[in-house]
Amino acid sequence: MSANGKPETRWPAIRFTVNDETRSVNVPPMKRLLDVLREDLHLTGTKEGCGEGECGSCSVRMNGELVNSCLVPVLQAEGAKIQTVEGLALDGNLHPLQAAFLHYGGAQCGICTPGMLMASAQLLADSPHPSDAEIREGLAGNLCRCTGFMRIFQSVAAAAAAQDAEPVKILEQTHHAR
């Protein structure tokens, strides 16, 4: 039975992988990926802020691209590879971005942090040596009301530099089939 008490078989299965694990959900196809992650898969690291694609709190990576999971009907995730903030750490070690956010005070209240981390992971995947302008553009869709952004930018720059010192694999995802 699903959370609302209706039989799960009512909806056909939608399959995708989340952080390299195969998942299958029986939910309405229009259900937002954000809600499927949080309610059906109990991955509550992904946060809801505005619910309209303006704030970036719900950012996840889908097929190697950054998306606002509040704007993805889950049917469109069929067959996709999803990476959430829960998938950033490797073998129990913090991802360099997470370590840098911790060290440089890039996180305060924490609501924007998972989205900031995923947007930053996308940025480093696309551009391993981002300029300050590229960092600002990469995070322009992620709003933070605590830090004033400077410590976040500093954290991302530090993580990029740390990657150079000791290469760390970011979970790479294949590009969407054209």
Partner: protein, 292 residues
């Protein structure tokens, strides 16, 4: 009021042909959805009227960008990040790459599609001024076949367009003949990222010994839908850059636009900014001509 996913049907026929068959079988019943950056916002807020939606995301034919010697054909479901990453678009149609960078944020550009931007029909659409200035053509598709319409005639009113109930945009065609043209594209909004345009102007012009031989002006947020400024173009065509010509062009622009007061700006501010953008473009043109 939150949207309820159980109240909306969403189907994914998987191929373009199957989508077109569905649209033809029940014309007007189905609302196509691609990247969802418009419809899912309405859904989340509980104000999505469409009850039956058909998925276009992931249909490869609709996301291709094909380059021929004459034109660049952009699949309707190509995303704005696809446009920004495309070598020929960056090299030959740089205003389109720039406009693509204006769309929301990276997470919006990875999902929002060029066809979606046009079908949504916002008067402030970011891609429209560049497409109008580049003389784009829209290719539509249905089970009845394909047809082409100039983009300047695609919009017919506020959020209205020439598409029939069973038709989709298939591709947006851009001619590859602007290498010698001067270009101008500027958006005025509240902040660099995420903001919707208060006013935007795109332009291409071809000069011959200081005389304007060809000119296209595309504008956003100055009318119920994105428009070519044809009266302003007429005031400039065949003219040289005298003060009188610039003043006549400013007058023509003010006479043909119909901006409104809304949450983002006022009609008066939009008029002032629009004529200033036009004059900035004309000054740039004159300065380039004077350059040795």
């Amino acid at each position: 009021m939150r949207g309820n996913a159980e109240m909306h049907e969403l189907v994914a026929p998987g191929t373009l042909g199957a989508v077109l068959d569905l649209l033809a079988a029940e014309p007007g019943e189905w609302t196509p959805i691609a990247g969802g950056t418009e419809l899912m916002v309405a859904f989340s807020a509980g104000r999505l009227n469409a009850r039956k939606l058909v998925n276009l995301w992931g249909i490869p034919d609709l996301r291709a960008i094909e380059v021929t010697p004459q034109s660049v054909a952009i699949g309707a479901a190509a995303t704005f990040l696809d446009l920004r990453k495309h070598a020929v678009i960056n090299a030959e149609l740089p205003m389109l790459a720039k406009a693509a960078s204006w769309i929301g944020s990276i997470a919006n550009q990875s999902r929002a599609t060029l066809g979606g931007n046009l079908v949504n029909g916002s008067p402030a659409a970011d891609s429209s001024p560049a497409l109008l200035a580049y003389d784009a053509e829209i290719e539509t598709i249905s089970v009845r076949g394909r047809r082409k319409v100039p983009y300047s005639r695609f919009h017919t009113g506020y959020k209205r367009n020439v598409l029939a109930h069973d038709e989709l945009i298939y591709a947006i065609h851009l001619p590859r003949r602007f290498a010698r043209h001067r270009e101008y594209l500027r958006k005025v909004g509240t902040r660099r990222a995420m903001a919707i345009a208060k006013v935007a102007l795109g332009a291409t012009a071809l000069l011959d010994h200081g005389v304007i031989r060809e000119i296209r002006l595309g504008a956003a947020s100055l009318a119920p839908y994105p428009i070519r400024l044809r009266q302003t173009e007429a005031a400039l065509l065949g003219q040289a850059f005298t003060r009188e010509v610039v003043l006549a062009a400013r007058r023509a622009l003010l006479a043909e636009v119909q901006p409104i007061d809304d949450i983002r700006s006022t009609a008066e501010y939009r008029r002032r900014v629009a004529v200033n953008l036009l004059e900035e473009f004309l000054l740039e043109l004159r300065q380039e001509r004077l350059r040795p």
